[in-house]
Amino acid sequence: MSELDLVPPPAGPDLLDRPSPTSATDADQPRGTRPRSHPLLRPTSLLALLVVLLVVLAAMAPGLFAHASPYDSDFAHKLQAPGGSHWFGTDQLGRDVFSRVVHGTSLTLRATLVAVAIAFGVGATLGLLAGYLRGLVDTVVMRFVDILLAIPSLLLALAVVTALGPGTIKVAVAVGVSSVATFARITRAEVLRVRSSDFVEAATVIGLRRSAVLARHVLPNAAGPAVALATLELGTAIIAVSSLSFLGFGAPLPQPEWGSLVAEGRDYLATAWWLAAMPCSVIVAVVLSANRISRAVGKTGRR
């Protein structure tokens, strides 16, 4: 790595979270002498937590929110605009769009979590090994990461989908694989930082085994940024999963997924805007909330 490789990780926490020296006051923080509240307890963070909570509930128990069936068609009431009986309107077959969005939550959320778990698990392990063992392992792993970073993540995901075929979980694997490189980079950088600190040196000097130093001292202290990135990656993964589903590589129809709902609605854009707009708004609200929480978590970690 030369000094000129200033390339920042594509969506590292730094990009979205910038405590700049000149902007001391946060927009959502009332100016005054009151002590600053915990970042997760500010109004916008609480709203974001509420949105995420609702989404998790909708994924686990869709019946709590939507009483109409996501599959039953009702041709007498097709393509109705949003209103009292159908919050998000009805689609070309008279199905309740709100119900389809709610029932689509579980597939989309499951894919997102699987994707982040793969990216975090594989990426953090690679970064940890590279940063701690250094030498040949480091070189090989980081060259591999460079190669993965050179392939745009959506195309890498599409290549995996080509090999595995369509489906919710396969899409999740594809998205996870495409974000491994970012996690590896962040974790390695953090491990390198922690590794050179005095307490790690002390632990080594008093004769702890390398694995013990790694597990007890390096890992807990290097985990912060990787965890912050994982929460940020939730938002990114929702977008990536929905994008692949929008392109038609998710669960087969008529199973609802947020992305495929938008794709279905796209054909009726001129006459029934709500078909695409409603699932899109839900995606945006959830991604914004996830990013908001991620920033709050990132700030907490630095205190």
Binding site: S23, I151, P152, L155, A159, L247, V284, N291
Partner: protein, 327 residues
């Protein structure tokens, strides 16, 4: 340029050679990754090829057809020799034959690439203008409330999926206002909406990184000196811009390299011809040679864009020399 070339010295050549070697290594690696993903992972590449070229269902092929296809694909030879054959063809400029359409992959790419290059070019210009513009405004405004509000715009923009931006643009400008076409590849008017849709997600991180650099530059002591010498706010900003452009430039290189990925979504939303829509149809029909070629092209785009940025870096930021990098 000539005045500074002495500062670079003999290190520049070594730096360039190393950097180009690194690029070649990345491209070789991208080929290996694409080969492993596309030719080793699928359970049965032969059936995929036959289903693509004949349109028949799996299991409906007679043994003779299967044997011919196996021979054509060379799947009976070892993985290693398949890999060498695949790499060898690529080095001879042969990207293979599309399973789906039966024509050479090169000719398919030749048809699609100009459309995508046009879109990519206009997108970069717009994204840089929007990103630098917003970043500069953030650096220029002094009211903390307004600055915070502007700083909140880029995180908002990156939270919106590219397809949502595209659909909103179509809804507003094509269906409501009826001023621009909602789809198509012909004419400049069909280029406007896709360019905006593709540029907004790129402009957001550019604005963030540029504003961040600008604000931290404005905090440096030399800025006070420039002010004390009686410079106007605009002149001061110019100093800060020149000293904070490097990370932005590096970011633009990365974003340019990733444009083919974004084009996949945008071209689908706007039903435009190009590499993006070619990718989607190739993935749908498991057209392995086409997917592999597109993965390689986008890796090459990324590698070349970042190489170009690294090479141009000292020209733009005069504090950087390549000689130091190799020392």
């Amino acid at each position: 340029m000539s005045r500074r070339s002495g500062a670079g010295g003999p290190g520049v050549g070594r730096y360039l050679a190393g950097r180009i070697g690194q690029t070649v290594l990345v491209l070789w690696g991208a080929h290996a990754v694409s080969f492993v993903l596309l030719y080793l992972l699928p359970s049965d590449a032969v059936t995929i090829k036959l289903m693509g070229s004949t349109g028949l269902e799996a299991g409906s092929f007679d043994p003779q057809t299967l044997a011919t296809a196996r021979e054509e694909l060379g799947v009976d030879s070892s993985i290693w020799s398949q890999y060498v054959a695949n790499l060898g063809r690529l080095l001879h400029g042969d990207l293979g034959i599309s399973y789906q359409r039966g024509t050479t992959v090169s000719s398919l790419l030749g048809e699609a690439l100009p459309h995508t290059l046009l879109l990519a070019g206009s997108t970069i210009v717009l994204a840089v203008v929007l990103g630098i513009g917003l970043g500069a405004v953030i650096g220029y405004v002094r009211r903390p409330g307004l600055r915070e509000a502007l700083l909140a715009v880029p995180p908002l923009a990156v939270s919106v999926p590219a397809f949502a931006i595209g659909l909103v643009l179509i809804q507003v400008f094509a269906f409501r206002l009826r001023v621009l076409p909602s789809s198509g590849t012909d004419g400049l008017s069909s280029l406007v909406l896709p360019t905006v849709a593709l540029a907004v997600p790129l402009a957001a991180p550019i604005a963030q990184v540029f504003a961040k650099g600008l604000l931290s530059s404005l905090d440096q002591p030399y800025i006070d000196t420039v002010f004390a010498k009686g410079a106007s706010r605009t002149q001061v900003l110019r100093h800060a811009v020149l000293n904070s452009i490097s990370p932005t430039l590096a970011l633009v290189g990365v974003l340019v390299g990733g444009l083919i990925g974004g084009a996949v979504i945008t071209e689908t939303v706007f039903t435009r011809e190009g590499i993006g829509t070619l990718t989607v149809s190739a993935v749908q029909s498991q057209d392995l040679p086409v997917v592999q070629a597109i993965v390689l092209i986008s890796a090459a785009a990324y590698a070349l864009a970042t190489l170009l940025v690294d090479v141009l870096h000292p020209v733009i930021d005069k504090r950087v020399t390549h000689a130091r990098a190799t020392a």
